[in-house]
Amino acid sequence: MGAAAVARIALICAAVGVLLLPWYGLETLGGWPFGAAASLAVLLVQGAAPWLWPIPVLLLLALTSSGWGRIAAGVGVLAWVAVQGIAIGLPGSTAGFAASLVGADATQPALGWGALFVLAGATGLLAAGLAQRGAFGADALIAFLTLASLLLLVVFVFAPLATVLAAAAVDGGHFSLGALIARLGAGEAWSLGCIAARQGCGVVWNTLVLAVLASVLSTALGLAFALLAARGRMRAGPAFRAIAILPLITPPFVVSMALIVLFGRNGLVTVWLWEWFAIPRSRWIYGLPGILIAQVLAWTPIAFVLLEGAVRALAPSLEEAAATMGARGFTVFRTVTWKLLRPAIAAALLLGFVESLADFGNPLILGGDFDVLSTRIFFAIAGARNDPGRAGSLALLLLLATLAAFAIQTLWLGRRSFTTVTGKGDAGVAPRLPRGLGIACAAVAWPWMAFTAAVYALILIGGFVHDIGRGDMTPTWRHLLTGFAVEWQDAPIFRGSAWDSLFTTLQVAAIAAPLTAGFGILLAWLIARNRFPGRRSLEFLTMLSFAIPGTVVGVGYITAFNVPPVELTGTLLILVICLVFRSLPVGVRGGVAALAQIDRSLDEASATLGARAPATLRRVVLPLLRPAILAALAYSFVHAMTSISAVIFLVSAQHNLATVYIVGRVEAGEMALAIAYSTALIVVMLVIVLGIERVLGRAQLGRRAAIPLQAGG
């Protein structure tokens, strides 16, 4: 779109924001156009907030200028809204330098719709000005989309993170390096008491030991599954793959509930062992062993999917080459196959490690006295003592551990090439597993597979029997009715206790999923198809939220958005925003990968035929990206329904989510209800994901699907 058109729309938008909409508050309309819902123009005429005068002045400047003038006005308004918003806040929080200018009693509530429109207008002006100077391919609309995305990412990814990290270094309202160092080195984190005496170890050691064990075990099991599926004598692939879907559609902590039912003090297995072998009952499942088993159960299928792909992608000719040089079965495996699999194994290890670090639900349910960083962060905020400094420093430690894992992987793999798929046809036949190795894999994989199946079966059954916790297996609808009873009095009345949270969850997921898919694909397109300065930083900010553990995000949101200038806590909006930015990296990655398959000349052809960016996007890019959009939709929907670590900080009595409700039931001892609800959740998810695929995926089943996405075929 032309710079002039964008500038005009931006000015109209800013004018609406200045003249009509309430400057403060997103939910106040009382007294409009005066009082709490007054617009900026009214506020200024009343002399209420004199420090806001630069905003209309800068906007008037933009009215008569172009190029540099628009850039200056846009930057000026954005910067001024941010600076005054941060400097002048609630009573008592006005910053020192601002107090000396406007008086210490100057206060203001959080920004509202008017401010939002003014900010959007200022971004538009900046974009128009930059495009006029030839930046962003001279396309003002692309400039606007890029800048707006960048601002959103800064506010909702970078700012919360910065707030957490800043909180770690603030003590009693002042910045203190000493406090930061003291917190980071605290005995709570690093104590080695468990080696010398029978005390608890530091929470960092707990976390790292758990993460290393969980990633190594799940990768080893996943590898056994992958080798059997791809190279075994039996066709094990379909059975393994069926199981592999389960953890993707279950809330992460559901496995923990099943483990308690099996191995808790009154668990089925525990009781059976006691009655038949007089093995005393204990609470061994609570702590490291329990969390470890739960995590290995959950991550093994993920490692399997990753490693099976890698095993199948190995070019058999390499192994055949080794065989023709005289190497025998196991030697070929050890010297060629294993070596070529190392990057995939590293990836699986990293994934398991990072997932384990970020896991919150399992340690919360099964942890007992064994705290890990994610749960300790939660209790530092939600516990008896709300200590943001301690939460911040623990979050910093967790973030550092995650980033270190990514860094180690990059360093280890960075300089090597393991590409075996070269694009040339490979006629080789993959060798079977060496006999001994095959038997070993089978001996490990099949029992574990049976165990996994049993755990999930238990979840399916658990909600429909009287009391699975005590082995009372009489079928009943009781638990389902507690949660989901509906009465009919002219209209349905949702009496069940679970309805509220289920409706909220569905509502949040239904809003978040299309937003994630749309925003993710837009970002992917901006990053993959447009050249502009700062493209790398935009990509980095997008991917950043992938590396931040959910607990850290949760703490960040609750500290950053609890006070002006942006006040969102307790709203439905904050849940939606949090989930959108959490799943965004997956949508962007998928979009970038899909765009790489679509020849760039298609976009260019569309542009030379007179189509502006939106038309190109709508008519050429999006139709070709349909599979990626579908995947992003399904992923973000499932993620919105199963995530817990970040949102547990953000729910409120009004807006509770299914996962948080379920964890609450577990803690209240209502295991059967929790299990019944989990089953219902899984069923709802399956129905909706399959529905999305059916409605949106149908059009690509025709013959057009067979056409490779290359220009002109």
Binding site: G2, Q132, R133, G134, G137, A138, D139, D599, S601, L602, E604, A605, S606, A607, T608, L609, G610, A611, R612, A613, A615, R619, V620, P623, L624, R704, I707, P708, L709, Q710, A711, G712, G713
Partner: protein, 354 residues
């Protein structure tokens, strides 16, 4: 009449690399102009600068008198045919051809009528319902041309349009493009690295090298009066030798090459030493007894059907010679005398060394 396209000191830098470096030119309206050069010379970047797919780092671009320097591709009203054709794989041929009209705001029915007419013009009737993947390479190429022409552009750009076609189709398609350009009075800018293609169809050839214009002129000018040995060699092969011009009068010159004095045709040139280009087909091989000729020995001989190719070692260096097949044949190691029918004095003899 303002030029169809005017570049004023245009530079396009990618980081430290200047793909197009301080280029200025005027391209006349209604002409077929080729941008010619080896790969990496900046010809495709120049085309993309005209299209608006790249924006200049410095300089000014005008199309038909309008400053388009910072105008995006969609706003420039030019049309382009891509090397890969860039047909939209999810649209039928008819949808592809009517695309530009539809996004420009035309009604679908009207757009499709226009598109059908254009398909008929290009001999593609009845293929409208096909998908691009169901067409042959030549048909895809014509659909791409139809899609560009249906917008009635004044300027049409081609990026190596023949490179994905087999050798037999190439000649026909390039004649088609030339015929279409002349019939519709279009300004066409055409990128190629094939000098024969450029010579065959162009009104004007712009030879580029390392981001700059090496020489610009009609095909005949470039062939007969190349500015330097790079162009002499690039516009059809040339033997470049050092010699001395003894005198030129009335197109007839007498030159000294490696001790031999030869009579040849040459355009006016002041007497003195010069760098001379001799086309392979301008060298006649005669029996060694001939006087006023350059003595040599045949080192390689090849029979190619219509012609014979020789490499002849002389005191002036190795000469590449192309002779008609019906001329007397020479064996390897035969002693011959070389006579030059025509010699081209190069304007800037040291260009390659600088």
């Amino acid at each position: 009449m303002s030029p169809a396209i005017r570049f004023t000191r245009v530079t396009r830098a990618f980081g430290p690399v200047r793909a197009v470096n301080d280029v200025s030119f005027d391209l006349p309206q209604g002409a077929l102009v080729t941008l010619l050069g080896p790969s990496g010379c900046g010809k495709t970047t120049t085309l993309r600068l005209i299209a608006g797919l790249e924006l200049p780092t410095e300089g000014r671009i005008e199309i038909e008198g309008r400053d388009v320097t910072n105008l995006a591709a969609a706003e420039r009203r030019i049309a382009m045919v891509f090397q890969s054709y860039a047909l939209f794989p999810h649209m039928t041929v008819l949808e592809n051809v009517s695309y530009g009209l539809v996004v420009g705001g035309a009604r679908r029915a009207a757009a499709e009528t226009d598109a059908r007419a254009m398909l008929a013009t290009l001999g593609l009737d009845g293929l409208g319902a096909r998908l691009p993947a169901e067409l042959s390479g030549g048909q895809q190429q014509r659909v791409a041309v139809a899609r560009a022409l249906v917008l009635r552009p004044h300027v049409l750009l081609f990026d190596e349009p023949l490179s994905n076609l087999d050798a037999r189709l190439r000649r026909r398609v390039r004649e088609d493009i030339r015929e279409l350009q002349q019939r519709l009075g279009l300004t066409v800018v055409y990128v190629t690295h094939d000098q024969q293609e450029a010579l065959a169809v162009s009104d004007l050839v712009v030879v580029m090298r390392e981001g700059r214009i090496a020489q610009m002129g009609t095909p005949v000018e470039l062939y007969d009066a190349p500015a330097d040995d790079f162009i002499a060699d690039f516009m059809g092969e040339a033997n470049v030798i050092d010699g001395e011009v003894l005198g030129v009068s009335d197109g007839q010159a007498s030159i000294a090459v490696a001790g031999a004095t030869l009579e040849t045709r040459m355009r006016p040139h002041p007497p003195g030493s010069a760098r001379l280009a001799v086309r392979p087909e301008a060298i006649a091989l005669l029996p060694p007894t001939e006087q006023a000729a350059l003595a040599g020995t045949v080192r390689r001989a090849a029979f190619l059907g219509q012609i014979r190719e020789y490499e002849v070692e002389t005191a002036a260096g190795m000469l590449f010679v192309v002779a008609p097949a019906d001329a007397p044949a020479w064996e390897v190691d035969a002693h011959v005398a070389c006579r030059f029918a025509r010699v081209i004095p190069l304007l800037t003899p040291t260009a390659r060394d600088s």
